[in-house]
């Protein structure tokens, strides 16, 4: 992966060197070029800006999500080149950086947004690099005249950083024409256009609902430059994620538990309300609960650290998922089919 980028970076270097040669000869650009560097070494920029670190971190910390990582890498390359072009006086406008992340719940949209904020900060496209995460409730008021100040308050907090709007489509409620969400949308659109230097807006949510939202609000589609889709995790990826989650908390699975967990993941995927990594995290939390309960009721005498941190098959097999999920869900899925 990272080799790919190196490749693209070196290609870009040669490209920008060519254009530099042309520009220096042209008298129009002379005054621009004299004040700044005359050539840019992209590879060293890539290292010194810290972008390499962020991308490496992204690769290390996030399992799967190959297309997302690829898109972020491309975006980083684009921004790096754009920054180099600006250093040479070849472009002056701030590129549109607003993004939309679409994907099912628990696919890592918020985590990636955090990394994106860091990336944009290191490249100098946002001044502070903090992430303000909001939903409809934070933007839309409850009575007339309440929405504008509320939205503006949030925007002020997000200035110099990234505004992450989770489940952005709830801002727009087509069935209620007096919904105050429209007001928030108008303010957002205005700020996204006028304050492009000051903040980056990332909208996130389910793919199909986001599509509907953008169709109903064409203003957003045209103001958002990067649409990134988050795929669902595969069984193996979820397995890797759960092992990593447990390792962070100093727990481990024994052989039986590993098999039980992978069977659990397969079953859970097919049940409704499956939220990828989030479901797995909840399942692991419940398994820890059962493990504690088991140790408490069965243990005789002192326990070793090994015993305290091992989750066994019984802790996972006790889950309702193996009995076919919740009653409510069973009925629902029965109705649906």
């Amino acid at each position: 992966m990272s080799l790919d980028l190196e490749q693209s970076v070196t290609n870009d270097t040669t490209k920008s060197d060519e254009t530099t040669g042309d520009e220096i000869n042209s008298p129009v650009q002379a005054d621009e070029a004299t004040s700044t560097a005359q050539a840019v070494d992209l590879a060293s920029e890539y290292e010194s800006s810290g972008v390499a670190d962020v991308l490496a971190e992204l690769d290390r910390d996030l399992i799967g999500l190959a297309p997302v990582k690829q898109r972020i890498r491309e975006t980083a390359a684009l921004l790096l080149v754009d920054r180099a072009r600006r250093a040479l006086g070849l472009s002056h406008q701030t590129p549109t950086l607003h993004m939309s992340f679409s994907g099912n719940p628990g696919t890592g949209k918020t985590t990636v947004a955090l990394k994106m904020a860091d990336l944009l900060y290191r490249l100098g496209y946002v001044r502070k690099g903090h992430l303000v995460s909001v939903t409809r409730d934070d933007l839309v008021g409850q009575y007339i005249g309440h929405t504008a100040p509320k939205t503006k308050e949030v925007l002020k907090k997000a200035m110099g950083g990234v505004l992450f709007i989770d489940e952005a489509y709830y801002l727009y409620k087509p069935d209620n024409e007096r919904d105050y969400g429209q007001e928030a949308i108008e303010i957002l659109l205005q700020v996204m256009e006028n304050n492009r230097d000051d903040l980056v807006v990332i909208m996130a949510g389910y793919a199909d609902k986001m599509d509907m939202f953008f169709r109903a609000n064409p203003g957003f589609r045209s103001r958002i430059a990067h649409h990134i889709e988050f795929p669902d995790y595969s069984g193996e990826e979820l397995m890797g994620i759960s092992e990593r989650m447990l390792a962070e908390q100093n727990y481990l699975l024994d052989e039986g538990a590993k098999q039980a967990l992978s069977a659990y993941i397969e079953l859970r995927r097919r049940q409704p309300h499956f939220a990828n990594a989030r479901s797995i995290r909840n399942a692991l939390d419940r398994a820890r609960l059962r493990q504690a309960n088991r140790l408490f009721s069965q243990a005789k005498g002192p326990l070793s650290g090994q015993a305290l941190s091992t989750i066994s098959a019984a802790d996972i097999r006790a889950s309702r998922v193996f009995q076919g999920g919740l009653d409510v869900d069973r009925n629902q899925s029965g109705d649906g089919q």
């Binding site: 502070k128 903090h130 100040p149 503006k152 002020k156 907090k157 200035m159 950083g161 000051d198």
Partner: protein
């Protein structure tokens, strides 16, 4: 008559870039910025009108500058000041305050003198608008 109050009184008026830098300094210290305006610059007038609530949780000066621009649009002919409030226990008060806008034609502050009991005299300052 050029009326001065608070920080930077002896400097020429700050421009927006300089104001933003001062705000940035305040935010770095974790102070909350409030915008206040008044048409009565008398030194004893401590009750200036608040322009919205003081702004907590800001990270960047741009948020303050946006509010300041809005305030200037509506009260361009008033005195406007920024107050930086520190919420540190034991301090809990305004740490820094400076004027960021003044009317095109400023009022004069004059002194009046009046007689009092036993030929004593009292002095008072008055803002003549």
């Amino acid at each position: 008559m050029r009326i001065t109050q608070g920080c930077f009184s002896f400097l020429p008026d700050l421009d927006d870039v300089q104001i933003a830098k001062q705000v940035e300094y305040c935010l770095e210290n974790g102070w909350a910025i409030g915008i206040e305006h008044t048409d009565d610059p008398h030194p004893r007038n401590t009750y200036w009108e608040m322009w919205g609530n003081p702004m907590f949780d800001l990270r960047d000066a741009k948020g303050v500058m946006m509010e300041l621009d809005d305030c200037r649009k509506l009260h361009g002919d008033d005195y406007i000041r920024l107050c930086a409030f520190e919420d540190e226990r034991g301090i809990e008060s305004v740490k820094m305050s400076f004027i960021v806008n003044r009317p095109a034609k400023e009022p004069r502050i004059t002194m009046t003198r009046s007689d009092y009991v036993d030929r004593a005299q009292k002095y008072a300052w008055q803002v003549n608008r």
